[in-house]
Amino acid sequence: MPADPARPGGRPGPRLHVVTGKGGTGKTTLAAAAALALAAEGRRSLLIEVEGRQGIAQLFDCPPLPYAERRVAVAEGGGEVHALAVDVEDALLEYLQTVYHLGPARWALDRLGALDFVTSIAPGLRDVFLTGKICQALGAPGSDGARYDAVVVDAPPTGRVARFLNVNQQVAGLARVGPVRNQAESIMQVLRSAQTTVHVVTLLEEMPTQETVDVVAELGGIGLPVGAVLINMVRTPVLTAADLIQAQNRHLPRAEIAAGLAAAGLPTSAAILDALIGEVLDAADRVALEAAERATLASLGRPTYELPWLAEGIDLGGLYALAAALTDQGFGVSGP
C-alpha cells in the first residue's frame, strides 16, 4: 500500500492489526500496547474488542465502553488511542438501519429477541457483523472514512480466530446471494489485502507455542496475512550460559556456592544448599525449554517481538512500558 500523502502520519504498511493468541497469553494487554505504540508521534489509533468482556476498560482503568468510540489514552507526542467495544446486536441493527432504514421495525426486532435469534441460529452471521463493523471503522485508505492511522482488534483466541476472520466460508452455505453475501465478500477483500496483518501473542511455553504454529498454518491456508509473533512475559535470565551448562551437567560447584553464602552471612547447611541448587536446576530447565520454544517460533519466519514480564502486574504504567518495548524493537515503524 502506498504512503498516503494526505495524512501527516500516513505511511506504508498495514493499518488493520488483528491480535490473537492462546487464552492467558496476554492478548488483550498486547493489543492495547500495540494500539499505544501505533498512536505514537501524534497519530490516532482505534482499539476494538469484540467479545464483550470489557477487558479494554479494565486495562485503561475507565468505565465500561459503550457501543461508541471513546478516547481512552494519550500516547507519546500527542497521539490518541480510542476504543470501541463492538456488540453484535448493535452492529446488526446498525447494519440493517443503514441498508434498510428500519424505522419502527427495529422496536419489534428488539422486543422479540429476533436479533438473539438470528445470531444464535447462525453463529457465522455474528462474525460477519462484527468484522463488518471493524472494516467500517477502518474506512477506505485515504478517504474521509479513514479517521484512524491504525485499527487494532483484540480478536478471539487462536482456536477460533481463523473461523472468525473467514467470514466468506461462514456464510457460504447460508446465503448464496444477497446483501450479506456481498458484505462478506467485501470484508474478505479487506482482510486479505496488504492493509491487514494478524499478530499472534504467545509465551515461551509448550501449548501457546504449539497453538501459534497451528494458527499461523491455518491463517496461511485461508490466505490471511500473518504479521508478527509477539512473545509475552519474557523474563531476563539471571543465570549465565556457563551456569546453564554446569546445571545441565548437574555439576554446580557446591563448595564455591557454600563459600559465597558464608561470605554473605547466610546459612550453609546441606538442606539450604540442596534447596538452592534444586531451584537453579529448575530455572535452568526452564531456560532450556524456553530456548527450544524460541527456536520453534523463529522457524515460522515471522518477525518476532519480545515483551518483558512485569513483576508488578499490568497497570497503565505497564502498558506504556510494553508499548515502548514494541516501539524500541521497531513495531509499527516500517510495518511489522
Binding site: G23, G24, E51, L96, Y100, L102, A105, A108, L109, R111, L112, G113, A114, D116, F117, V118, S120, I121, A122, P123, G124, P157, R160, R163, Q170, G173, L174, A175, V177, G178, V180, R181, E205, E206, M207, Q210, R235, V238, D243, P253, E256, I257, A259, G260, L261, A263, A264, G265, L266, P267, A271, D274, A275, L276, I277, E279, V280, D282, A283, D285
Partner: protein, 373 residues
C-alpha cells in the same frame, strides 16, 4: 482428594475452571489415579494437548471411550478415555431420536451445519449430552463406576453451566414459536403487534439473506423440535443430574489473579445452585525447600556478593531464589485471598513442573501431588 476418589458414592466428577489452567490434565491425572486404586473410570476430555492425547491412546477422535494402555489394573480398576467430538455427538443424538428420513433432512440443512460445528453454546450442550449418555450407559451395564469430565475451554467458567440452558430456552422460546407459525396467530388481537413484528422481521431476513433462509430455518427448527421433544426440558434434565447426589465439582485454577477470580465466581455459582463442590484444585503452585531464606535476606546477600568476583555465582543463585520467593509470596497472597472468601472449600495444590505433562508417568506424579497437596 483420595477420599473423594475412593468414595463409591462419587459417580461423576466435573472439572471446571477458566481456560489454560490445566483442567484436562487434572481430569486425566485424577482418572488415572482412581483407576489404579481400583475404580472403573471413564474420562471425557474436551480438547487435550496432542501429546497427552497420544499417551492416552486417543490418537483417533472417534467419540467412543477407548481403553487407556499401560495402566496398572492390579487393584481391579479400568481406565477408558474419550475426546468429545461435538459435531459427531450432535449427529448421533439426531440419529438416535429421529427417523432416518427426518435425520437426512436435518443433516442436509445448511443451518444445521452452521449450528452443529460452531462454538457458541453447542460444545457445552454436547458435553452435557455426552455426559448424560455415558451416565446412562454406566447405569445400564455397570461398565464404569466413575465418570470424570473435563469442560469446554469457555471464555468463562460459567459458560459450561449456562450455555446449554440458553440454547435450550432459546430453541424452545416464544420467539421461535411465533416465528415458526405467524399465520396461526393472526386472529388474536393481543398478539397482533408481535405478529406485525414477526412479519417485518421475516421480510427483512428474506431481503438480507435471500428467500431461501426462512424456509431453511423453519424446517430445521421444526425437525429438531420433534427430535428432541423440547430442548429446554432436556437441558433442565441434564442440569438436574448435576445437582443429584453422586456428582461432585472440582474447580480448577492456577495461582493467578484471573484464574482465581473465575474460580471465585464459579464457587459462588455452585453454592447458589446447590451443587456439590468438592474443592479447589490449584495447579502450578511454586514451592521452596528454603523458606527461611526470605526475599529480604537473599536480596541483601546477593547485593553483598555483587562486587566480589569469586562469589558471582552464589550471587546469581541467590537472585534465582529471590525471584522464586517473590513468586511464592504473590501466589500465597492470591490463594489466601480466595481462602478468606471461601474458608470451607478445601484446596488441593499441585506443584509447578518445569515441563508440560505428556505421559502417564507425568499424570501419576500430578495425581500424587494433588493427593498430598
Amino acid at each position: 482428594m483420595d477420599a473423594l476418589l475412593a468414595d463409591r458414592g462419587t459417580r461423576i466428577i466435573v472439572c471446571c475452571g477458566s481456560g489454560g489452567v490445566g483442567k484436562t490434565t487434572t481430569a486425566a491425572a485424577l482418572a488415572l489415579r482412581a483407576a489404579e486404586q481400583g475404580r472403573r473410570v471413564c474420562v471425557l476430555t474436551i480438547d487435550p494437548a496432542r501429546r497427552l492425547a497420544q499417551s492416552m491412546g486417543l490418537e483417533h477422535l472417534d467419540n467412543t471411550p477407548r481403553v487407556v494402555p499401560d495402566v496398572d489394573l492390579a487393584a481391579g480398576g479400568l481406565l477408558e478415555a474419550m475426546m468429545l467430538d461435538m459435531k459427531r455427538t450432535f449427529d448421533e443424538t439426531v440419529e438416535t431420536h429421529a427417523a432416518p428420513d427426518q435425520a437426512r433432512a436435518i443433516f442436509a440443512n445448511p443451518f444445521y451445519q452452521s449450528m452443529s460445528s460452531s462454538f457458541t453454546g453447542t460444545q457445552e450442550y454436547m458435553a452435557m449430552e455426552k455426559l448424560g449418555q455415558l451416565r446412562a450407559q454406566a447405569d445400564a451395564d455397570g461398565r464404569w463406576d466413575l465418570i470424570i469430565v473435563d469442560t469446554p475451554p469457555s471464555r468463562s467458567a460459567l459458560d459450561f453451566l449456562d450455555a446449554p440452558q440458553r440454547l435450550g430456552s432459546f430453541l424452545d422460546g416464544r420467539t421461535i414459536k411465533l416465528f415458526l407459525a405467524p399465520a396461526r396467530l393472526g386472529g388474536r388481537t393481543y398478539l397482533r403487534v408481535f405478529n406485525a413484528g414477526v412479519w417485518a422481521m421475516s421480510g427483512i431476513m428474506n431481503r438480507v439473506f435471500g428467500a431461501q433462509i426462512l424456509t431453511n430455518v423453519q424446517s430445521l427448527i421444526a425437525a429438531l423440535d420433534t427430535v428432541f421433544g423440547g430442548f429446554r426440558e432436556r437441558a433442565e434434565q441434564t442440569y438436574a443430574h448435576l445437582q443429584a447426589p453422586g456428582t461432585s465439582f472440582l474447580v480448577v485454577a492456577t495461582p493467578e489473579p484471573d484464574a482465581l477470580r473465575e474460580a471465585a465466581y464459579f464457587t459462588q455459582r455452585l453454592e447458589q445452585d446447590r451443587m456439590a463442590l468438592a474443592g479447589l484444585v490449584l495447579n502450578r503452585v511454586h514451592t521452596t525447600d528454603a523458606p527461611n531464606l526470605t526475599v529480604e535476606r537473599s536480596q541483601i546477600g546477593a547485593q553483598d556478593l555483587e562486587d566480589l568476583p569469586e562469589h558471582a555465582l552464589a550471587a546469581r543463585i541467590l537472585r534465582v531464589h529471590v525471584e522464586r520467593m517473590h513468586r511464592i509470596r504473590r501466589e500465597t497472597h492470591l490463594t489466601q485471598h480466595f481462602a478468606a472468601g471461601f474458608p470451607h472449600v478445601p484446596i488441593a495444590r499441585a506443584a509447578a513442573q518445569a515441563t508440560d505433562i505428556h505421559d502417564l508417568d507425568g499424570l501419576r506424579t500430578l495425581g500424587t501431588s494433588l493427593a498430598e497437596g
